[in-house]
Assembly symmetry: D3
Homo-oligomer: 139 residues x 6
């Protein structure tokens, strides 16, 4: 399958409701390097996504299995920075905040608009996150 299709495929599959999508490099018989595409989706989206994969990729079959998941309860907030607001994703485990992650798209936009390096932006934002959310994280 032409490798140029993946970016397009990822977008389409995510638009159809996939929760996650990723590829792994595998090696098949007769020295064939290949790509294993994995999609995580809700059971309701299985048929729709399977059809898309069969029609848009070179595969003749799609395997699937049921997985359970333990996920952090998620909450989204905006935090203030000197460059403007940035979204952060909060993750709670059994009621306790244990993880805060900035929205990278926002950081990239800031980096582009202000001509500052992405690394510096991230450093700033992680410091703000540290100060605003620290107490709960360390509890």
């Amino acid at each position: 399958m032409s490798s140029e299709i993946y970016s397009h495929l990822y977008n389409k599959i995510l638009q159809e409701g996939a929760l996650d999508i990723y590829t792994e490099s595998i090696y098949m018989k007769k020295n064939r390097p290949a790509v294993k595409l994995s999609v995580i989706c809700k059971e309701d989206d299985l048929e729709k996504i399977t059809e898309h994969l069969l029609k848009e990729t070179s595969t003749f079959g799609v395997r699937y299995s049921k997985y359970d998941r333990v996920i952090l309860k998620r909450e989204f907030r905006k935090i203030k920075t000197i460059y403007g607001k940035v979204s952060v994703k909060l993750g709670y485990y059994k009621g306790n905040l244990i993880k805060v992650t900035p929205e990278y798209e926002d950081c990239i936009k800031i980096a582009d608009n202000h001509g500052i390096s992405f690394t510096k932006i991230l450093l700033e934002i992680n410091n703000i996150i540290y100060k605003e959310f620290n107490i709960k994280i360390l509890t």
Copy 2:
């Protein structure tokens, strides 16, 4: 495990009825690069293949799980080319032909016998496929 064994192992496992076989590179504790071997087989072949893996590889255990599959209905045909006949695999989804793939072994034989590049052979054959099966594919 000696890497020279894989080619032999692939052949043996496929002879025993495996539907597919592939490897992935994984990394284990203590900086050990390793190879994860995956075999897709029918439930009836599970014991036979498991035994083969335990006897012929360095592993002390084989994990398995049940997967469902959605597969295209397959049909095999011969198409005529100026170099002779070539097998093609047709894939139908809900009654519609959506995929036609040449048998690569045939293409390689032609390339070898006629001293033509594999790439050119493939180009020719894809064009014949396009003309013969196109209407149904595009419906």
Copy 3:
């Protein structure tokens, strides 16, 4: 280094004149999975790109070496399809046309605008390429 930075980094490095950029998965001492980033660039862009890598990634050093290249002479053309024009890249080896590749961005736009699958578009375009350029390719 946060993996979210790569997409941004790829764009920046290409804007600075890199000819190509890619990553490979490597494993370092102490079980550290890591990413080796490779950039192909002209000698004149070496300093600029090295500086960018040192500032925007977590690395403390950049290695480089000189490579020679044999490349096909490239030419760009537009071909007509029933959906509009599509750019194709032609590759010549010692004066002979040996390769024609459609511009995938164009194919994706057509697929999106006409609600047709990318796979079908590609099939159509490869057929047009076959008919228009075939003689030279097969010589």
Copy 4:
């Protein structure tokens, strides 16, 4: 997630009772190289290990599924070498000994203490294994 954490994480997860742990390189949307961490554990350890993964890694979710396993019955023995004793792991399939593997930690210690290459030690030990266990292996 910082790649330096893996060695520590592997140790912790194994201390909590995991049967095995390994990583694979995957590629996610938006050109993000990532690491998929897989842990094999008993059902009773699932919650404890899941909690550890959620707290100590950057993930917001852990997927799990049930696998069956066919494993060789294991037995541990000491064999004598000219450098001292070395542990070996014996694997039985349906009552027959089919595999004998030296304990690599022991071999490394010998290599270090005697200033001999690891390769030579292994050669010696495999020869002793061959002589001591050969009959059963070949039955």
Copy 5:
């Protein structure tokens, strides 16, 4: 080559003066998955390390080539944390501090001694780094 040897090999090669060492997964003819081991070393250590690789691995040949490097000027400092001192590595580009990285071994020791998660330790230390070194980094 037995994968258990890698951890030992990494240590030995680093003791002999290698600057860096890492592995990549490659695929050879006849479906052989293999591991490509790369060592970065000074020219003076080339012979010693080559000999070690030839004697301790299964390879029959070692390839080498000369690379230039652009590296950040490095400086090591101790910073105070509520858990004790932690080493940090500072990286200067053309006289400007552009990177500060904690010594992960120190962080792991603290995590182990105080029963705190590695993630929290890192968060704390990155905050101290931010406050102590920020001005120079952002200039």
Copy 6:
């Protein structure tokens, strides 16, 4: 590029005199998984092999660089086993025999002809190698 071509390509490139050939999985811009093909060859074969790669793969360019090699002096011998003769490759470093490797093709043929497992054959042969060549190896 169709992954089915690799086996054919490997054979052709080796027939043209390549010393070694292998692939690695890489990731390019726009989420494109790709395969990096590496060929080790003598300088005299460079042009012939480059031409083959440009004509038979989808690439528009081939990079190359000069490497030095330290290789073991090789010698081939036949050893007797109860199943017949097997070729072994001997490797000498500065005049000393340091490595003996059986020819895997021979072992596979024996395994197939006698219906014995490849693993057992290898065990037998390594034992014979150990007894015949051991003294020199340990010197």
